[in-house]
């Protein structure tokens, strides 16, 4: 099923957009072909027992498309349906897509927008994530580039953040968040002194796109704009990179280095100070371009060590 694509979707907010709008904004006009689209009605078999409504595509849109003339496979999560969380069918669509990527030797874009595992089908969701990670690594070993895009309303939490950690490159916006445990979970388990989940500035300082970019948890920081994400995806696909022992060893080194350098620090501002950034407390309010200029040469990078 082809999606109406207003290509050159100038000024489409990635954060506000639906998954389908994001796919349409990335895709070369008219090139998206959906697999197991909504008309197939492959919905979750596990929601009815909870009296919860289903969505025809189970909140996961997958298919094949051209991006700047290049064939890629694409997966996009709808963050407003069940919080974009992984369920049995939702997850299986991405598992299949990544296995297909290996067979086709085709690159993959994953548009994350997820709170993690869907609790009503928790075991199926958790297993899906494990199967996705295995298929993703097999695709990378087959030479495919797998690129993650993070900037939606639900963020990239829980098991989704582990899948993101398997991608070769991560593109994030300031609005994006990437974390295993969410703010409320930390507060519930450790108390409000440990983490005040209602302190939005704290949430973004700790888990948000700018901080992740600075410590090497993400590779490209873009504006909250579909065109910016598209251009970053095109650039990321051009970058070289594989998946072998050298990459894993380099990642081990940078992760150990991070612990040594910042392991004793309590707050992100301390880390940014440690990176040698002037006026670190002002970073959250800077526009993307000014921010990138301010931090140039000072951030930790993870290129080919992810």
């Amino acid at each position: 099923m082809s999606v109406t694509a207003t290509h050159n979707a100038g000024n489409l907010s990635w954060y506000e957009a639906s998954a389908r709008q994001r796919v349409a904004a990335l895709a070369d006009a008219g090139s998206f072909v959906e697999f197991i689209g909504p008309e197939q009605r492959e919905m979750s078999p596990h929601l009815a027992v909870f009296g919860l409504p289903e969505q025809f595509d189970d909140g996961m849109i997958i298919g094949s498309t051209k991006l700047d003339g290049r064939d890629v496979l694409v997966a996009a999560q709808e963050g407003r349906f069940m919080g974009g969380a992984f369920g049995e069918v939702h997850g299986a669509k991405l598992t299949g897509l990544l296995r297909a990527a290996s067979a086709l030797k085709r690159d993959v874009l994953i548009l994350f927008d997820t709170g993690g595992v869907r609790l009503q089908e928790a075991n199926a969701g958790e297993l899906a994530i494990a199967e996705i990670m295995r298929a993703l690594i097999e695709a990378r070993r087959a030479g495919c580039k797998v690129i993650g895009l993070i900037g939606g309303r639900a963020g990239c939490y829980g098991g989704g953040s582990l899948i993101a950690g398997c991608c070769a490159r991560l593109i994030v916006s300031e609005q994006g968040r990437l974390s295993v445990s969410g703010p409320e979970v930390i507060e519930t388990n450790r108390g409000v002194e440990e983490f005040d989940s209602r302190d939005r500035a704290l949430v973004w300082r700790t888990m948000g796109g700018k901080h992740r970019y600075l410590i090497g948890g993400a590779d490209i920081l873009v504006d909250d704009d579909a065109t910016a994400f598209r251009e970053a995806a095109i650039a990321a696909l051009r970058a070289t990179g594989g998946f072998d022992l050298a990459v894993l060893t380099a990642e081990q080194q940078r992760l150990e280095h991070r612990l040594g350098r910042f392991g004793a620090m309590r707050d992100a501002v301390d880390i940014w100070t440690g990176l040698g950034i002037v006026q670190p407390a002002r970073l959250p309010e800077l526009a993307t371009e000014d921010f990138l200029q301010q931090v140039q040469g000072k951030r930790e990078a993870a290129d080919d060590a992810r």
Partner: protein, 239 residues
């Protein structure tokens, strides 16, 4: 079975497996000959950035040093450590890195066997047990995505309602039976028989691709996953 009993039953001729903090590490000889590496986490510990880095490093050392010896991952953990410190430092990267190391080890010819003998939950479950090539368990193991009281709080459903629904489907509640039915657990070992023999038998089974979707379908816990994935592959490769 305690950890010491498990190790003694796995390696009746002795072993050099030690513990350090919450972590397990070392080596043993298989009855049929050849070494097996052992790593793991014990005492229901929470898995945080430091321990994840240590475990991953151990896996990478094994890959670098040893052509194809299998790796046994012993698991009794809680969930990932839920703290500001861990998330500030990027816990998702550390857990993903550990999973990648295990997945890569398996792909490079080091059979990775997970033996779940205690708990394992959420992100720790994904990064350890579920990242092994074959996952077995001992009775009494208690894997979980999330405990039911927490699920009740998050979903705003009464705990009694969740408990009732859990009787009709294995797809969400914690427990070894449920995780086995959905395809996560290859087999539950018999503690009344020597574990060494059961390990030998497992290692002689052929290496396969990821069969958990088919297991879940066959056992009835996940009726759709394998079929959907296969359909996607057909559509993508024949389109």
């Amino acid at each position: 079975m305690t950890l010491d009993e498990i190790l003694a039953s796995l390696f009746p001729q002795g072993h050099q497996v030690r513990t350090s903090g919450s972590l397990i590490g070392g080596k043993a000889d298989l009855p049929g000959g050849g070494p097996i590496h052992v790593i793991g986490i014990k005492d229901a510990a929470f898995l945080g950035v430091e321990d994840a880095a240590i475990l991953a490093n151990r896996v990478l050392e094994i890959i670098e040093s040893d052509k194809a010896a299998p790796i046994l991952v012993l698991i009794d953990s809680s969930s990932q450590r839920m703290s500001r410190h861990d998330e500030l430092l990027g816990l998702s990267e550390y857990l993903a890195h550990l999973a990648k190391a295990l997945l890569f080890a398996e792909a490079q010819g080091h059979r990775t066997i997970g033996l779940l003998y205690g708990g394992s939950a959420a992100g720790a479950f994904i990064a350890t047990a579920l990242a092994t090539g074959t996952l077995v368990a001992l009775p009494g193991a208690h894997p979980a995505v999330m405990d039911l009281p927490s699920m009740a709080r998050v979903t705003k459903l009464p705990l009694t309602v969740l408990e009732e629904k859990a009787k009709t489907t294995p797809v969400f509640a914690p427990g070894l039976d449920n995780l086995a039915q959905t395809g996560a657990i290859h087999a539950v070992w018999d503690p009344a028989r020597p574990l060494a023999g059961q390990l030998t038998a497992l290692l002689s089974e052929p290496v396969t691709g990821d069969e958990r979707g088919h297991l879940g379908a066959a056992r009835g816990g996940r009726p759709k996953a394998a079929e959907i994935a296969e359909r996607v592959i057909k559509l993508a490769t024949h389109g």
